[in-house]
């Protein structure tokens, strides 16, 4: 260990200088000689059979490279979990953004007209756009029953709980689609030559997902497919799976054209065609005793997967496992289901199912509190998971987390009780109402269940000829700080200055498969592997008698240089091995769902304007336990950024659908928060550590997406005395909700009265 530790210090972001000077190279900044530009002709209808394709007049079609499904050398699918999603529709279309044809031309500006000039004649088939529509099965749009995947999690026995219960509390909660809205649109460049094979450069999260998809599509061996990540301008899950589709399209055009092809989506195409957060519906039925203790309950989670399977089973799994929140359920039955509709497939977005089911859980806790006559604070305190108790999947909590203490600290720093008192008085008069709301939650780090075991990630660390060290991983940087944190970990393990370490550009020719950059796994899981591979470097140098314990940085450099001169390339590898105490049963969905959970309590303060029904968030406290904080500045940046997205998810960001197509795919009408829309976001950490993570780290990236929506909507209910169970919660929804509540109560003055 360094005398002056690097881990825990806010060292400069590795690629920061290039970013603030505009020198970073994103995919659209890259130009290859002789390059063409590509565009995609998409379905215009949600579901049907393609009858005829006509290339209209006024376009010099002979100058274009045109690709259809017939040009695919291998299997016509984007290989992921299942192989159901075609790369290009050949006969049937199943959603209104389904790719059918690809066009390429040297003049980028000619492409939009050409796309418009292609007309496609369809025989339309009936289509489905809602979860309820899919469940009715009057039309089967996928498989035999419109169901992509179901899970059942059972613990204890629900038979007697309903009889024993003093209260049975029911609620239904829903969340809308949400666009990731990275500021850099999706894009790819592909080049092909027979000797080297296919190379793609792009904006992406998971190089090896694309590698796998391109091998199947182009019928190429692994060594003939190369995937390179360019600097990536935000991703948030939105560049986990769809980049495989765009890479596939660019590749097909490049193979046919014999020239490099660049495809860059414009904002409208990116928002409409690529994946968004799964819309969800969660139903709770909970048996509670007179003390407010949960005796048991049923939770039904359903998500809309869109037209193809994509990642829906995994999103659903995380949603189901998080559905019970940070509470002790002696008895529970969680049924989860992903259904098919004729919308473009929904996909990964920060939180990955958990923000949906945790919104329901935390809204439902407030409903239980009201029913039982306890405060939102007390109902949570009485039901928090304790050390030694088991989660809904029977995972025993072994770390000394004390959620009651976490809650107390959050109440304290947010001045919750003082605010409650003040607002009760303030709300008697005036044209606005104030409220505070709590959300308590957890987020599992790393892949679910056996996921990490299947991934079996590999990490390399290289001692270079100049005596510096290079980390070799397929883990990608897209703003969250991968390069910086993995460099810190390697430097710490090697007792070297941070400046001695660099991270290789993710390139499948150069780096091993360290797994996808998702699931809050990079610092914790990949970081731990970097740590052990780095130790391999020192051990090798020491056992070769080139270095002695207690070496200086200069001595390391000399030893490393010497080793490379004598032996050539100097690389040490580390492969993931599942801890022996982690057991997961895929069939029963029971066991250790995650190697570690991060824990949090968030408190939101809001004002609701009774004239405009606008909700503003005035103060936001975010307290979390995330293991060791490896880089305080980046960690705080992750939390604040996630909360900003969570505020958007709660109050602003509404995808307007018509027949499966997004109607507001522009930044002018899909509203994300600006710098003047956000409250002070106050971030606090507790650090328990984590034996499974690098230097005690847990995952952090997704956690802050889970809490804001329920905390804010709970605060709105606190302000108005009227419950809202669906997000996004827009002013018009509040207006409708208040009107309905007035009608129901037959009086005018319910607002503000409690």
């Amino acid at each position: 260990m360094n005398a002056d530790p690097i881990v825990g210090k806010s060292v400069p972001r590795k690629e920061g200088r290039d970013k603030v000077t505009g020198r970073s190279q994103y995919v659209d900044d890259m130009v290859l000689p002789n390059m063409l530009f590509g565009a995609t002709v998409r379905s215009q209808i949600p579901r049907g059979r393609i009858r005829k394709i006509t290339f209209g007049p006024g376009i010099p079609w002979d100058e274009f490279v045109i690709v259809s499904a017939k040009d695919i050398p291998g299997k016509n699918c984007i290989s992921l979990i299942g192989d159901d999603q075609p790369c290009l529709a050949s006969e049937f279309v199943n959603h209104p953004e389904e790719p059918i044809l690809l066009l390429a031309h040297p003049d980028r500006h000619l492409l939009p007209q050409a796309v418009k000039a292609v007309s496609i004649d369809y025989e339309a088939l009936p289509s489905i756009f809602t979860i309820e529509g899919s469940e009715r099965r009057s039309e089967i749009v996928w498989g035999e029953d419109n169901i992509f995947k179901t899970y059942l999690i059972e613990k204890g026995n629900l038979e007697d709980v309903w009889e024993k219960a003093d209260y049975i509390v029911e609620g239904e909660y829903s969340t809308g689609a949400q666009e990731q809205l990275y500021i850099e649109n999706n894009g790819m460049i592909a080049a092909f030559d027979a000797a080297r094979g296919l190379t793609v450069w792009g904006s992406l999260q998971c190089p090896y997902y694309i590698h796998k998809a391109l091998m199947a599509l182009c019928n190429l061996p692994p060594e003939k497919v190369r995937v390179v990540q360019m600097e990536t301008g935000g991703a948030f899950g939105g560049k986990e799976e769809y980049p495989s589709m765009i890479a596939a399209h660019a590749a097909l055009l490049a193979i046919k054209a014999g020239r490099p092809v660049k495809i860059i989506y414009d904002r409208l195409e990116d928002m409409a065609a690529t994946t968004k957060r799964h819309p969800s519906r969660t139903r709770h039925r909970t048996a509670v005793d007179c003390e407010g203790k949960i005796l048991g309950g049923e939770i039904d989670l359903t998500i809309d997967g869109g037209a193809y399977l994509t990642l829906s089973p995994v999103v659903l799994s995380r949603g189901a496992i998080h559905a019970g929140g940070p509470y002790y359920w002696p008895n529970v039955r969680i049924r989860a289901k992903a259904v098919a509709t004729n919308a473009p497939p929904h996909g990964a977005f920060r939180g990955f199912g958990a923000p949906q089911s945790l919104f329901a859980m935390e809204r439902h806790m407030d409903r239980i509190a009201r029913t039982v006559g306890l405060s939102p604070v007390e109902i949570r305190r009485r039901n928090f998971l304790q050390l030694g108790q088991a989660t809904t999947t029977d995972q025993v909590i072994r770390e000394p987390i004390n959620l009651g203490n976490l809650l107390d600290r959050a109440l304290d720093v947010s001045e919750y009780h003082a605010k409650k008192k003040r607002f009760a008085k303030q709300n008697q008069v005036g044209t606005s109402r104030k409220g505070v709301g709590i959300a308590a939650f957890l987020h599992g780090a790393g892949f679910t269940g056996s996921g990490e075991r299947y991934l079996s990630s590999v990490v390399g660390v290289e001692g270079c000829s100049d005596g510096t060290v290079r980390v070799l991983v397929s883990s990608t940087e897209f703003g969250q700080g991968t390069n910086t944190v993995l460099s810190q970990i390697a430097a710490e393990a090697l007792s070297l200055p941070y400046e001695y370490v660099s991270v290789a550009q993710p390139d499948t020719l150069e780096v091993p498969n360290s797994g996808p950059t998702v699931a809050s796994r990079t610092a914790m899981v990949v970081g731990k592997l970097v740590q052990s591979a780095a130790l391999g470097i020192t051990q090798t140098l020491i056992s070769s008698n080139l270095l002695h314990e207690g070496y200086s940085a200069n001595e390391f450099r000399a030893a490393c240089q010497q080793y490379v001169v004598t032996h050539g390339q100097f690389r040490c590898w580390s492969r993931y091995e599942a801890p022996s105490d982690i057991f997961w049963d895929d069939d029963k969905y029971r066991g250790e769902a995650y190697a570690a959970f991060a824990w949090a309590v968030y408190i939101a303060e809001v004002t609701v304007d009774l004239t405009t029904y606008r909700v503003s968030v005035d103060d936001f406290v975010a307290l979390q336990e995330v293991g060791k904080v490896l880089h305080p500045l980046l960690a705080r940046g992750q939390i604040i950024g996630g909360i900003a997205q969570g505020i958007g998810f709660s109050l602003y960001e509404k995808v307007v659908w018509q027949n499966g197509r997004m109607q507001n795919g522009q930044m002018t009408n899909y509203i994300m928060p600006t710098s003047s829309d956000l409250p002070p976001i106050r971030v606090f950490f507790e650090e328990l550590g984590n034996i499974h993570g690098a230097y005690g780290a847990k995952g952090i990236g997704e956690l802050p997406m889970d809490g804001p929506a329920p905390a804010i909507v709970n605060a709105v209910e606190d302000a108005l005395g009227v419950p809202f169970d669906s997000i996004p919660l827009l002013p018009e929804d509040i207006m409708d909700g208040l009107a309905a509540s007035l009608e129901e109560n037959g009086k005018v003055s319910t607002v503000g009265e409690r």
């Binding site: 200088r17 290039d18 603030v20 000077t21 000619l110 500021i183 940046g637 950024g641 710098s675 956000l678």
Partner: protein, 165 residues
């Protein structure tokens, strides 16, 4: 999107970019953004939305902050344009660039060039802005990563350092 094959012929545009006189031949309605990125190789300005909403293509034109995706290059004739590439003097980062780097103002980096130029423009007109004025001044530039807090802190820090200097 401009159609470069429309009937207009290319014209010659002369303007000053990052202190250097430049001449380009372009269609009059081509976007300044494309001329900067494609003809002049200045890729620091980014296209985020193509309709003046996100601000990632922000540049300074005669001292005004403009969305270069909305400016026909014709309009740049005779003007002085500054892009992110022109902000640092040789190898020395501008005080704003340093502060963004140190305060966590840049995450994925795609909005950063536009954001720094917007901050530069703000401080040009208002050397010591309040927090609210910084938030308001940057509200035309969208960032999806940071939640803006560390960007606002970076601008405050730059102000503090400049005042000290």
């Amino acid at each position: 999107m401009t159609n470069s094959r429309e009937s207009h012929a290319k014209i010659e545009i002369s303007f000053t970019v990052n202190g250097e006189p430049k001449k380009v031949r372009a269609y009059p309605m081509e976007r300044l953004l494309d001329v900067l990125r494609v003809d002049l190789g200045l890729t620091g300005a980014k296209e985020g939305c193509g309709e003046g909403e996100c601000g990632s293509c922000s540049v300074l034109m005669d001292g005004a902050l403009v969305n270069s995706c909305l400016i026909p290059v014709l309009q740049a004739e005779g003007t002085t344009v500054v892009t992110i590439e022109g902000l640092a003097a040789k190898n020395e980062l501008h005080v704003l660039q340093k502060a963004f780097l140190e305060c966590g103002g840049a995450q994925c980096g795609i909005c950063t060039p536009g954001m720094i130029l917007a901050a530069f423009h703000l401080l040009d007109g208002k050397p010591e802005p309040t927090i609210e004025e910084i938030q308001e001044g940057l509200s035309g530039n969208l960032c999806r990563c940071t939640g803006y807090t560390q960007i606002v802190e970076a601008v405050s820090e730059a102000v503090r350092r400049r005042t000290l200097a």
